[in-house]
Amino acid sequence: MASETKGNWWIWKVFWILLFITAFEVALGMIKPPFLVDTIFLGTKLLNHIFIILTIIKAAYIILEFMHLGHEKKSLKWTVLLPAMVLVPYLLFIILSEGVHSYLMI
């Protein structure tokens, strides 16, 4: 494993990235820029899309760096990532569109 000889600097780099993204999210959540709140895209506020994208970036750093998956063998990487990358968006698509549909039916 290559990381055995690596120092600790990369850990703190990831830490600062995660901290910065979280602080940015909290600031956005407190300020709520009207432009981002009022623009509706794909059924929800633009602000929410930004939150979701930032969350996925944070998740990627945790999985690939902290959990070291980015440095594992390619086959292991995809064994872990593919089920989630296929099933979760599928589940969300089905369930959330049904949620909107059942709202319209009340």
Partner: protein, 315 residues
């Protein structure tokens, strides 16, 4: 060796290869985490379903999670931001423990494991505080009979089964109107409620916000309370809560509870790990891979929180 496995007088596969270049234990931890990912995805997806379905009576998160220990006033997001920071920090200390495990430096592993355990415990304490606040309640609300739409003064209102008292655009505590006599925090009786209505009627600058976020002017609000109001409510349980739709409280307890249980399990695993590191179990074994495996679980707990933070508190 089974005869069928032997080709050219050599065994076809005698084990020992690591196709994934990862040990059995690490692979099994990864597979467990995949299943756990799907479990949490299902929880959050069903949360999303209910939120879309009951969007008219779903609370605004900023109205719900506004408190910070020892600070007065409304501080939306601040406390969960602190909890997120604590958990990210404990993830960092965990990676450092794993890193020193690779280098076989026992004392550094102990140091960072202890800090991770402290971080995890702080997170659990924060969550307990948050739950306490959620259960105990904050501003309170009025439970109304919202089975059908109805009209007052020729204006039509949609159904609503919860209403919040508002003053100058801010939520106003019902404690100010009911002389603080909540023996039973969730239910108060009819006489109390009549007193509540007259107290509400006497303060002309009070409005009522229905659960679909429409604001009723004072006079209409008094009419609404007399006609539709049933009782006041404070706090939350699994049947109802002061914040909005019942399912909001249920999902809060269920999802943050399930995540908190993961954190708790993680802290227990870390303590067992720490004892074994101190007892030189892994030094004798020749590697600190167990730190890495528990570390994977711990980072997963952080990962789940990142999503819970977004979908429960931000979105």
């Amino acid at each position: 060796m089974d005869e069928a496995l032997i080709k050219d007088h050599k065994p076809a596969w005698k084990g020992g290869d690591l196709p994934y270049k990862a040990s059995y234990g690490k692979l099994m931890m990864w597979f467990f985490l995949i299943t756990d990912t799907l479990t949490f995805s299902a929880f959050l997806a069903s949360y999303g379903f209910s939120r879309f379905k009951y969007q008219d009576s779903w609370p605004v998160p900023e109205d719900v999670f506004t408190h910070f220990p020892f600070l007065h006033g409304d501080h939306p997001l601040l406390f969960v931001a602190l909890m997120t920071f604590i958990l990210i920090m404990s993830s960092v200390t965990m990676v450092l423990a794993v890193n020193y495990g690779h280098k076989m430096q026992k004392n550094k592993v102990i140091l960072w494991l202890v800090l991770t355990i402290i971080g995890g415990s702080m997170f659990l304490g924060s969550q307990a505080w948050e739950w306490g606040h959620f259960i105990h309640g904050d501003k309170g609300a009025v439970v109304t009979n919202g089975s059908s739409s109805y009209s007052i003064n020729d204006s039509l209102f949609v159904n609503s089964n919860l209403a919040h008292v508002f003053k100058d655009g801010h939520m106003y505590s019902i404690d100010n109107l009911s002389e603080g006599n909540h023996h039973d925090s969730a239910h108060s009786d009819d006489i109390d409620f009549d007193n509540f209505i007259s107290a509400f009627a006497s303060e002309k600058d009070l409005n009522l916000r229905l659960s679909d976020k429409t604001i009723l002017d004072h006079d209409v609000a008094v009419e609404y309370l007399k006609e539709r109001g049933l009782r006041t409510i404070k706090g939350a349980d699994l049947y109802e809560n002061e914040y909005g739709h019942t399912l909001f409280g249920d999902y809060f307890f269920f999802i943050t509870g399930f995540h908190g249980f993961h954190v708790f399990s993680g802290v227990v695993l870390l303590i067992i790990l720490l004892v074994n590191v101190i007892k030189d179990t892994y030094a004798r074994r020749g590697h600190y891979e167990m730190v890495e495996k528990i570390g994977l679980y711990w980072h997963f707990v952080d990962l789940v929180w990142v999503f819970v933070f977004t979908f429960f508190y931000l979105v």
